[in-house]
């Protein structure tokens, strides 16, 4: 019901992002979703991979600060209002969304959205009660 995301601290320097992705590629880690939050002088790369523990391990060995975070992945109908309905469920429950991004892959009529909230069980329960499909895992892009 929840998906493991790996977050990596990045300085704002040329090639920093490429370095992270290189490490993952060399260790045959498959990326299913990726987003980069950037500030003036640092950024946080968030990725969803098939094996989060392995990704964290190889990144740490390469000298990066990487941590595992639990997030929720949901299927959202790919039509106007689809996302608004899903977020409406969370708003009703007073659940704060820290950040959100979409996975590149579409599944038929649906889009996949990754949501970071503090109260995961509550969020998952509310979403399921409202008929939103919560994914167990993400598949390759």
């Amino acid at each position: 019901m929840e998906v493991a995301q790996v977050s990596v601290f990045l300085e704002n320097r040329t090639g920093g992002l490429a370095d992270v992705v290189d490490v993952l590629a060399k260790n045959a880690v498959d990326i299913h979703a990726v987003t980069l939050a950037d500030m003036a002088d640092f950024g946080i790369l968030r990725i969803i991979v098939d094996d989060a523990d392995q990704a964290k391990k190889v990144l740490k060995a390469a000298g990066f600060t990487a941590e595992k975070t639990r997030v929720v992945a949901v299927e959202v109908p790919d039509r106007p209002g689809g996302l608004a309905e899903m977020l409406g469920v969370l708003r009703k429950q007073g659940i704060n969304v820290e950040y959100m991004y979409s996975a590149a892959r579409k599944r038929g009529e649906s889009a996949i959205v990754v949501v970071r909230v503090d109260e995961i069980p509550k969020a998952v329960g509310a979403l399921r009660d409202a008929g939103v499909k919560v994914l167990e895992k993400l598949e390759a892009m």
């Binding site: 995301q5 977050s7 601290f9 300085e11 500030m39 946080i44 600060t65 990487a66 970071r116």
Partner: protein, 441 residues
């Protein structure tokens, strides 16, 4: 004092006897040795003789220990200017070892030892280990760099002379350091405090504890009392400060006893003075100033009134441990390290104290000074470790602001705090380089 695993308060070795000499006898010994070493330097060091003659002085003018104040100073550039052999007071056939300090530019600072000098060095290192509660049955992992740097071999020879088991790891290779520590039941580690903090982090990540490790003998760079508290709390070992510099002998010039309240100086071999760094005038005990040493027994390269650039205070009060050797306050700063930014004098140790105030922050940092449009800027780069990392931008921004606030509170001036990736901050020989000045002043 925090609760630590350290005990072994009564480590004693015959070499430690001079630690407990009555002050009067110590004074007598110092005078005899001072007169002999001044004579040796006068006869064998051209530079020293010229300076004495310029002042109309001869070795016969040293009648009391206090007369040392009449003598000319030696400074670091004297070693560089007379490179390679200028200050050698023994012929090369009597010199058994050379060391060099890690100079940043130009010719290195080279120092020489006779066999007798090596014996003195071993003796003060044995006395240092005993003061830290280290004994013959201990297993010592020496993670100071081996080579021209005095840290590695100085510790090594001392540990062997004590009769302990030495593992000559040298610096670097964290995984191997931790593995050896576990597998061989290491009880004592010797390295720089910044390197040990690094090892603590690696151990935490790998979820291994420090097993039997009990004592750390940390030196070769200034560190704060706050850093000691951090190390002791994070690792459960007792962290001792050891002091030394290659120009005087290497590690083993002074060390903290189990009371961890100032460093005892081995005054029977190294005569300390505190001077006003501007006027050169000798200051009384208890006053802060620049530390100056005269080596009382060094044959190959005597140093008369060598200015260390380290700022401290001599503590004349007797120590509860029973040693009669005077103590100096731990060195948090060097006059060399001090920089002036927007008219404010700043020492890296103050920045360290500020960063340690912010909970969870580990003290891997570097200060970068730059000048933009005529205005000095100070940037503090802090490594982001797993303990402080969050995937939330908001949390990271807050961390940055808390750090900036803490620095401003301690220094009274604003500095930009930048969060950087781990291990991006340059380290040389395990010594952390704390200040990078790009102002081209």
């Amino acid at each position: 004092m925090s609760a630590t695993r350290g005990d072994g308060l009564l480590a004693f070795h015959p070499a430690c006897a001079p630690d407990y000499l009555p002050r009067e006898q110590l004074r007598q010994l110092q005078l005899q040795r001072l007169q002999a070493i001044v004579r040796r330097a006068y006869e064998r060091q051209k530079l020293f003789r010229e300076r004495m003659e310029a002042r109309g002085l001869s070795p016969a003018d040293v009648r009391t220990v206090e007369d040392v104040a009449k003598l000319p100073f030696m400074v670091k550039t004297d070693l560089r200017d007379t490179y390679p052999f200028g200050l050698f007071a023994s012929p090369m056939e009597d010199v058994v070892r050379l060391h060099a300090s890690s100079g940043t530019t130009g010719k290195p600072i080279v120092v020489a030892y006779t066999q007798a000098d090596i014996e003195v060095w071993k003796e003060v290192m044995v006395r240092s280990f005993c003061a830290c509660g280290v004994q013959a049955h201990d297993v010592i992992q020496n993670a100071y760099g081996y080579g021209l740097f005095t840290g590695g071999l100085g510790m090594h020879y001392g540990a062997e002379a004590l009769g302990a088991t030495v593992i000559p790891m040298s610096g670097g290779n964290n995984e191997r350091q931790l593995m050896v520590m576990q597998d061989f039941g290491v009880t004592v580690i010797c390295c720089t405090p910044s390197y040990f903090v690094h090892l603590v982090e690696r151990a935490k990540e790998a979820k291994i504890d420090f097993g039997r490790l009990r004592v750390g003998v940390f030196g070769a760079e200034p560190w704060s009392a706050a850093m000691r508290d951090h190390i002791q709390a994070a690792s459960g070992i007792r962290a001792h400060d050891i002091y030394g510099l290659s120009e005087i002998i290497g590690p083993g010039v002074g060390v903290e006893c189990h009371r961890q309240d100032g460093l005892h100086l081995f005054e029977d071999h190294f005569l300390p003075e505190i001077i006003d760094p501007v006027t050169g005038e000798v200051l009384p005990d208890g006053k802060e100033g620049e530390l100056v040493f005269t080596t009382l027994s060094k044959q190959a390269m005597p140093m008369i009134r060598y200015r260390t650039r380290d700022i401290t205070t001599l503590m004349p009060e007797p120590c509860g441990c029973g040693r009669t050797l005077r103590r100096m306050r731990r060195i948090g700063r060097r006059s060399d390290d001090m920089f002036i930014i927007r008219g404010v004098n700043v020492f890296p140790s103050q920045v360290e104290v500020a960063l340690l105030k912010v909970e969870g922050t580990l003290p891997h940092y570097q200060i970068v000074l730059s000048r933009e449009k005529g205005l000095d800027e100070m940037e503090v780069q802090v490594e982001v470790t797993p303990e402080v990392f969050s995937d939330k931008i908001k949390a990271m921004k807050e961390l940055q602001q808390r750090l900036e606030h803490a620095v401003e509170q301690v220094l009274g001036i604003r500095a930009k705090v930048t969060l950087v990736e781990p291990r991006t901050i340059a380290r040389s020989e395990g010594k952390a380089k704390r200040v990078v000045d790009r102002r081209n002043i």
